[in-house]
Subunit: 315 residues, 2 copies
């Protein structure tokens, strides 16, 4: 029942010895979502032991090289391993043209189908299955490389049945699904047993938001309101605000402000400028504003545990 | 006066944890030539401390991803560092189309000019300056990805003047350049002082050949005849000859045979299949046929020292 983020790279622009360009993997109950894919991402997937064959969905925030130059190599390597299943790519529509042009020019083919999904400038539901939804939302980056963020949310679970209480009330098996949906049980004698005596709240749904390259934008806080874990780019410390604006980036203080406004439970900062080989100043700056701040680091794993609700007896 | 090869990657197809895709740097007297550029090459350049800003010439053997997917990232990173000097790229003509398409589609530009040089299917002199020449020669690889090898040769040096002997013979300064070219000195009195008494042979010119993906081809031995150091792909051991033929590759025994036929002084094998995480069987197989065989390994440096000629007095 994992909900776990692995940082594969958290630098900006150019790779450093100890810090690769942007890429992350989010594991939601053994669904592996790849988020951005800077050069060397396939190396990092191997290094950190991610079962990369299970990745079926790749989300590319925008078309700057440090966020997607590793894609073509990763796709090609999967093909060399004779992958058959569809790979879904969510990105700027130009990426499809670029990849198709390259494969046609080089007269090469993948062993499996690529399915492209174009990102738009409107908040959109871009993926959904039985347990998770993924939404994209627009960020404010350079005009030539429109950028999107992604919000991953577990769907609500069914209510958890208290087995002993249900047995005591002699709830028939066929009715259990209605209990899970919150209905009261009415005995053959017409006695109403309130649902609250037979079930407890399910574990809370978990959520993660990835906010890629962007100018400070309070609108982002609306898109990710109440998120459990927020990754926000924090390329510079606030003393370099002018440079942040010039380069369409956010400062650590601004990232923390977004986390506050969004009522996020936890903030991860990353996408550090190469001027911070040690990102501690960035992390500390954000932490003074939003205390539950962590610094991204290649290989670091952030897990959101499943919070089981306890049955509280009212006396 | 270095002539030094650094292996940046020596695997085939997909990167392994300890072995990157193909790339090498040859340093000829502080000219840094990049040969192939698999994904992660810029990471390796940093890791092994190569002054990559000095690279002005990149040679791409063929357009399979494991030999060039790192190029776009490397070029982009140099641009982010505001490089100004021309970068020369020697490759299949399609690479120029691909790179231009990508930059136009993404509306991005480099801070410096790219100069493309198309490789042909004929042996050709593709680069020359005061001290070194580079020739390309055709290999036999997949039809969709014609492959070339590269031969780097120092030019002949001028003869080394024996200072004391020249002083004793009272050779005028203005004549020294003729001595270096091998002329005898004739004194004002008409006495001929043979050049052999005034100079010795210069250090031998050094040479390196890179033989990329290819079927076994004895013709290669002609192209690289007498080379000092030969890198030859040896993807498989000879027991997998059928697979080597199927995939247009060479076995270790065949690579060693080419080294023998070429009268090479030294053989380096590489481009190991991922089925050999430890390439020792490949290296040993080649060594039984050509004893002066070494195995490539990421980060390994092979130097050809300058062999100074000694003045031998005839008694």
């Amino acid at each position: 029942m994992k909900f776990e983020l692995t940082i594969l790279g958290c630098g900006s622009a150019v790779p450093l010895k100890h810090r690769n360009c942007t890429a992350q993997v989010l594991n939601v109950l053994e669904r592996y979502f790849l988020i951005d894919c800077g050069e060397g991402t396939q190396h990092q997937l191997r290094k950190y032991g991610i079962p990369y064959n299970k990745i079926n969905h790749i989300f590319i925030s925008h078309l700057h090289g440090d966020h997607f130059f590793g894609l073509i190599g990763f796709l090609s390597s999967l093909s060399m391993q004779n992958r058959k299943g569809e790979m879904h790519i969510y990105a700027d529509a130009r990426l499809e043209r670029l990849i198709n042009f390259q494969f046609e020019l080089l007269r090469s083919k993948l062993s499996y189908p690529l399915v492209f999904h174009s990102l738009t400038r409107e908040p959109s539901l871009i993926f959904e299955d039985g347990v998770v939804t993924v939404e994209s939302f627009p960020l404010k980056h350079r005009p030539e490389a429109p950028s999107c963020g992604f919000l991953f949310k577990e769907k609500s679970r069914k209510r958890t049945i208290l087995k002993q209480a249900a047995a005591d009330a002699k709830v028939p098996v066929a009715f259990m699904q209605y209990l899970q949906m919150g209905e009261d049980y009415i005995t053959p004698e017409g006695v109403v047993v309130p649902n609250s005596e037979l079930t407890i709240d399910p574990p809370a749904s978990r959520s993660y938001a990835f906010v890629s390259d962007t100018l400070y934008s309070p609108k982002v806080a609306e898109y990710v309101q109440g998120v459990d874990m927020l990754y926000h780019e924090a390329t510079y410390c606030h003393e370099l605000l002018k440079m942040a604006k010039l380069n369409y980036h956010t400062t650590a203080a601004q990232a923390a402000d977004i986390a506050l406004k969004a009522n996020a439970k936890q903030l991860i900062v990353g996408h550090y400028s190469s001027r911070y080989p040690d990102p501690e100043p960035v992390i500390q700056e954000a932490r003074t504003i939003f205390s539950n701040t962590y610094g991204a680091e290649d290989g670091l794993v952030f897990e959101i545990p499943l919070e089981k609700r306890k049955f509280v007896v009212n006396n």
